[in-house]
Amino acid sequence: MKSIKKAPMCRKNRWRRLTVLALLPVLLFNSGCWNQVEVVNTVEAVGMFFDIENGQPLLGLQLAEPASSQSGTQPKKPINVYSAGATFSEAARRVMLDVPRLPMWSHVGVMLMGIELTQTDLAMIADFLARNRNVRKTSFLFVAEGNSKDFLEAELPIETYPILGLRKLIRIQEQQTGIYKPVTVDDFLQALAEPGVEPTAPQVVVNEVDGKKVLGLHGTAVFRERRQVGMLDEQESMGFRLMNPGMVTGGLFTFPPPGEEAQNKYISIELTRSLAKVKPQIEGNHLKKININIDAEGNFYEQNFAGNMISLENIGKIEAATDEEMQKRVMAAVGKAQSLQSDIFGWGRMIRQQDPSLWANLAGDWPLVFSGLEVEVTVNFAIRRTYLLDQSFEYLE
């Protein structure tokens, strides 16, 4: 009797339990498909241009043309869209008034800041860059000197989407020439936020080539107190790059051979690796000077004149000349930064980490202290290889 009485109870309980178990997975769907986007409802955004027009944020957007698979062979064209708003977020949302598809903001690989914006106030853009989850922090950031329309419509050889092409351009030129250092959104924001270091960004300009507008790199923008105050030229940019914390690889130095003052005689030295050690020399409660010690090595790459440069006694001379050349460029960068009173090297940060109490004293007028700092640069360069020739050509004269 007992078991018969109990059985229906059990069954009821079991069903109730099963129902709950069956409903539990349904909870998973509560999150829903809220961020589901079909590919056909999207368009890939390749580049963004932040500028100010009539005192209002202006957003220029370069979109990739969606092409059907049938017409895959036809050359595609970038589509440029402009929209304005009180903030950059509003401007970005107002793009939707003109474009029927959702731009994939996360695919924007290159962001340009108009010089109008950088000379006004970086605070207008910083929050947008840092807070927005769709901004990819590994995008490369550039300063653009000129009209936004010119930039978005300019070309870059070979590349379908010129703005996106800047990404490849900045990376490959760094390895090959060693001039400009790529700056990501993340690097930029960190330098902007941290006391004792100022941000930089490579500059882009539009050049006229055969009547066509072509994008090109030109200098490194230097900032101070949320504003662009000047720029480094090629030589200074090279020197700036050599002081990058951590290993620097790639680059080419061309300068007259040691002991020769004649015109048009040059040697090219390829930099394979270089490591700069920067150390503020603090004595007691006084910052005496900044010691910069660069260890580098590289290869002899070319000489454009007759005579054998590569000999046992010459190698030491070439190395010394390279030391001098690198030192010259580093000093040029330091000099420019000091004249602009902008600590782009992050020496203030170093002092803060080494001696916080000293930094507390200096922080107030750091730009001034920085501009008057004594700097000592020692470079120790070594030639490792001479590639396919161990001697140069000997000509019959």
């Binding site: 961020n35 079909e38 368009v43 990739a64 969606p66 092409a67 059907s68 698979s69 996360s106 990819r136």
Partner: protein, 520 residues
């Protein structure tokens, strides 16, 4: 147990059941009449009545089923000695009515396999198994002589488990051939082949093979217990038994491994597993088994260790691809576009332009089409088989893309998944992966990578809860066992394999003596 025991009585008339229970009578006429009644309408039953002995004083009856016996053997070893030799050399045999049957059994019939039987049921069982039964008047027993010889498939190459290197024999439908294939490989008296009869009507011979001293006695006892408990009218394939033997019924994962290759069965026997075969089935069941065994092929053990380890890793990865690739693709392009590199996204976006379906629906349609094609290919006769693949390739690969119904990357993904799923060596594990793939597709299509992760966790929880004869299904991965692991992701070289894999209830752990390591 998870099934309801069939309480119905066997489907024969009470009269027949009464007769079959009777012992043999000493009157040949009575026996003959009973047997004629039992074998009424069995046109293949042959009754040969004859007389023998001096003055033809004995009468006898030879009974067999035509087609199951070697008639030559009956003529030369049973009938000829009885009818002609016994009659002519009567004095030598000194036949008397009391012991006639024993004398015939030991002195007259020149056959190796002969035994005496006592009931009508035994008579019926023996003739149905291909033996020949001899009854003589005046004896309460009969003789059953082994004359089994029927037309069967000879030992051929395996059709489903093809290997490049290694033995190329496969089991056939004849149980004796199959046990012989095993016995030829394991010449030890410890190799036991225990026999039992299952199937109320089919009376199928089923054997349990194991190596005494390696297989755990509890395991063997457990298997026997489970087999004896089976009450089913017919066992036409070992597949009938698999469902009775598995511990968990509500799962997509097979808990019993099967093979058509005797060498593979022997390998498992040497690891302490038990092998079950049934007459009429060319498939041997192997148990217990674990999930990691399903990406192992017998060829791994024949090819050198390094290549076979690499191929095993490839197989394992392709199992993951077969399980996850379509769902990962769908989840990524509908939820996580930022994870795709920009150039790849441009390419994918260009191909999807104008495709009318959402990615999830597209993947589902293509997957279903692929499964249809595959199933059609399996069932179709050999002559038409290739045609379906041509039609399938044309329809899906070309026409559907050209018509803009599906996008090319999706076709590539589905095709790649298909190829990966063919790499899974075990067909039954492959089916499980195929089923789970659809679950993942839904999870990925509805909830993105989040959903795939949740389903993966649920699946793992489910798999860890499974047991195959008490052996955890994911062992040696969970519970972790370092020693057995060296035969799961990679294959340890034979010269380093001193111990058998654990966790299978080993009695005898030593594979080889450690002195056999090659020295530099």
């Amino acid at each position: 147990m998870g099934y309801k025991r069939n309480k119905l009585k066997p489907g024969s008339t009470p009269e027949v059941r009464e007769i079959i229970a009777k012992p043999l009578s000493d009157k040949l006429e009575q026996n003959s009449a009973d047997l004629h009644l039992l074998l009424a309408n069995c046109s293949d039953a042959v009754f040969k009545e004859f007389t023998f002995g001096p003055d033809s004083e004995y009468s006898g009856l030879v009974l067999f089923f035509d087609g199951l016996v070697d008639k030559n053997e009956i003529e030369f070893h049973i009938l000829k000695p009885l009818i002609s030799e016994l009659t002519t050399h009567c004095a030598q045999f000194d036949l008397d009515h009391q012991n006639a049957l024993q004398q015939i059994q030991h002195n007259v019939v020149s056959m190796a396999e002969i035994k005496s039987i006592e009931t009508l049921e035994q008579v019926c069982h023996h003739i149905a198994s291909g033996d020949t039964v001899l009854l003589i008047d005046g004896a309460k027993q009969g003789l059953a002589a082994g004359t089994r010889a029927w037309e069967g498939r000879s030992v051929e190459k395996p059709e489903n488990e093809v290997v490049v290197r290694g033995p190329k024999e496969a089991f056939t439908e004849t149980l004796r051939f199959n046990t012989a294939l095993l016995r030829r490989r394991i010449k030890s008296t410890n190799f036991k082949i225990e026999s039992m009869v299952l199937g109320r009507i089919t009376k199928t011979d089923v054997v349990i093979c194991y190596i005494d001293g390696i297989a755990a006695p509890e395991l063997v006892a457990n298997v026997k217990k489970k087999l004896v408990a089976i009450d089913i009218d017919g066992v036409l394939d070992t597949g009938y038994l698999e469902e009775f033997l598995e511990d968990n019924h509500y799962t997509i994962f097979p808990q019993v491994e099967y093979t058509e290759k005797p060498d593979r069965a022997c390998g498992h026997l040497l690891e302490g597993q038990v092998c079950i075969m049934a007459d009429g089935s060319p498939i041997a069941l192997i148990l217990p088994t674990t999930f990691p065994r399903f990406w192992v092929s017998s060829e791994d053990y024949y090819e050198r260790a390094i290549p076979s380890s690499l191929i095993r890793i490839l197989r394992f990865s392709s199992m993951l691809i077969a399980l996850l690739l379509p769902s990962l693709f769908v989840a990524t392009i509908t939820y996580h576009q930022e994870m795709i590199p920009p150039d790849l996204y441009l390419t994918i976006a260009a191909t999807r332009e104008g495709v009318p379906f959402p990615a999830f629906v597209e993947a589902l349609l293509l997957e279903i089409t692929f499964e249809l094609l595959r199933e059609a290919g399996v069932r179709l006769p050999h002559a038409i088989g290739p045609a379906i693949s041509i039609v399938g390739a044309l329809i899906i690969g070309d026409a559907a893309v050209k018509a803009g119904l599906v996008s090319t990357p999706m076709v590539v993904v589905v095709a790649f998944t298909g190829i990966a799923s063919f790499i899974v060596p075990s067909y039954n594990a492959g089916i499980a992966v195929r089923i789970a793939r659809f679950g993942f597709l839904f999870a990925g299509g509805l909830m993105g990578l989040f959903g795939i992760m949740i389903l993966l966790l649920l699946l793992l929880i489910h798999m860890t809860s499974l047991r195959s004869f008490g052996l955890p299904y994911l062992s040696p991965l969970a519970p972790f066992n370092k020693r057995a692991l060296t035969d799961i992701i990679v294959r340890r070289p034979w010269y380093m394999t001193f111990l058998r894999p654990t966790m299978k209830g080993m009695e005898n752990e030593i594979h080889q003596k450690s002195t056999d390591v090659p020295q530099e």
